[in-house]
């Protein structure tokens, strides 16, 4: 499936020379969403070439930017199609677009409308003025959930690199391989990944700590304790196993929670850098201890 829409000027309904011009990225999901929310209205839709990347990420990279907007206004001949000189942009595109330059170079005034596409009809009905709510970012449960599949798939990609070797190591006890131990270890790894990529985002505002790594460690530790209680019933599972499970699951969950910073609209790069400086060494030490425990168990314990 292609996620790219050819850039250019599209008509929604039957727009005229005085109809508003809404600008978006050529990321298929943004494009479809704008078409759907604008259904029943007559507007022009100017699609910029962002190589299939959404407005927010493309603005950060500069592809949803002043240059592309000016170029697209010129190549589509927008000034001959509409009589007014205004283009409406999502607020999330502001980090790539310099309003005064667009005005100088293309003669168009840029209006930053709303953060969410859903609010666009109301913005237009209000005579192009945004309420405070339309301009204030939110990160609701549903907004967090939408991102979960991407996170989970991203987490699974590390499986051959981290999950598999760990499970192989854990499969050995006192020098002999056990397929049961291998299977259980794989499942525990998956639970830890889900704890970091799904449970932590779900509970985000409720979890203690400001650092995502801490939040992820809390959910990971809780999940691992629950698993340890169940595993502890088996006579084949020793205290060293349980200690390794708790440490490792906490680390894995914490790591994936830290990765979630890339999907949130409120984490600054300076903050993420600080968090990584503090959290990565702690994860390395904890993970290292867990691996030593597993290795010791594999060989002689």
């Amino acid at each position: 499936m292609s996620y790219i829409v050819p850039p250019g000027l599209y008509a929604i309904g039957e727009p005229e020379h005085d109809s508003p011009v809404v600008v978006t990225a050529n990321y298929k999901m943004s494009y479809d969403l704008v078409r759907r929310t604008m259904a029943g209205r007559d507007v022009w839709l100017l699609v910029l070439e962002t190589y299939g990347i959404n407005v927010w990420c493309a603005a950060g990279k500069g592809t949803f930017g002043t240059g592309e907007l000016v170029r697209r206004i010129e190549t589509t001949g927008l000034s001959r199609i509409v009589s007014h000189r205004r283009v409406i942009l999502p607020v999330m595109g502001a980090s790539g677009v310099k309003v005064i330059d667009v005005k100088q170079r293309a003669g168009f005034e840029v209006l930053f409308a709303t953060l969410r596409i859903d609010d666009l009809p109301e913005y237009l009905d209000n005579g192009m003025s945004a309420t405070r709510e339309m301009r204030e970012l939110t990160f609701s449960l549903s907004e967090r959930l939408v991102l979960a599949p991407v996170e989970i798939i991203g987490g699974m990609k590390s499986f051959p690199l981290a999950g598999l070797p760990l499970a192989l190591l854990a499969a050995f006890s006192s020098g002999s391989f056990s397929i049961n131990r291998f299977a259980v270890a794989l499942i525990l790894y998956l639970i830890a990944v889900l704890s970091g990529t799904l449970l932590t985002p779900l509970l985000l505002p409720l979890l203690p700590g400001r650092m995502f790594a801490v939040k992820g460690a809390v959910t990971g530790c809780a999940c691992s304790l629950a698993c340890a209680v169940i595993l502890g019933r088996s006579p084949a599972v020793g205290p060293v196993d349980l200690a390794a499970v708790i440490l490792m699951m906490t680390v894995v969950s914490s790591f994936y929670a830290m990765n979630y910073t890339g999907s949130t609209p409120f984490t600054s790069p300076s903050g993420v850098r600080r968090e990584m400086q503090l959290a990565l060494p702690a994860m390395a030490v904890t993970g290292g201890i867990a691996i030593i425990l597993l290795a010791a168990r594999a060989v002689f314990l």
Partner: protein
Amino acid sequence: MKGFVYLPDVVTLELDQEACIGCGICPAVCPHRIFEMRDSKAFIRNRDECMECGACALNCPVRAIRVDAGVGCASGMINTWLAGFNIRLRNDDSCC
């Protein structure tokens, strides 16, 4: 943003109120309502909530705002860091 605050005292956002000409564009482009206009000057309400997207600094006509802009993404940073050692884990970033 309501209910969400990241680490305190790390963001690089700086506003030079002397230079500000009160054009009012920074409050309009900031997704976190960091700025407020007071007596025709921009004013930072809640610095810690800034996500360093750079929209304000880019659009300020007199360069009264400074911020090291970027996307706050741990996996992106890890990949850049690994690339420095010529290690490539995956070529498609999970975020931006």
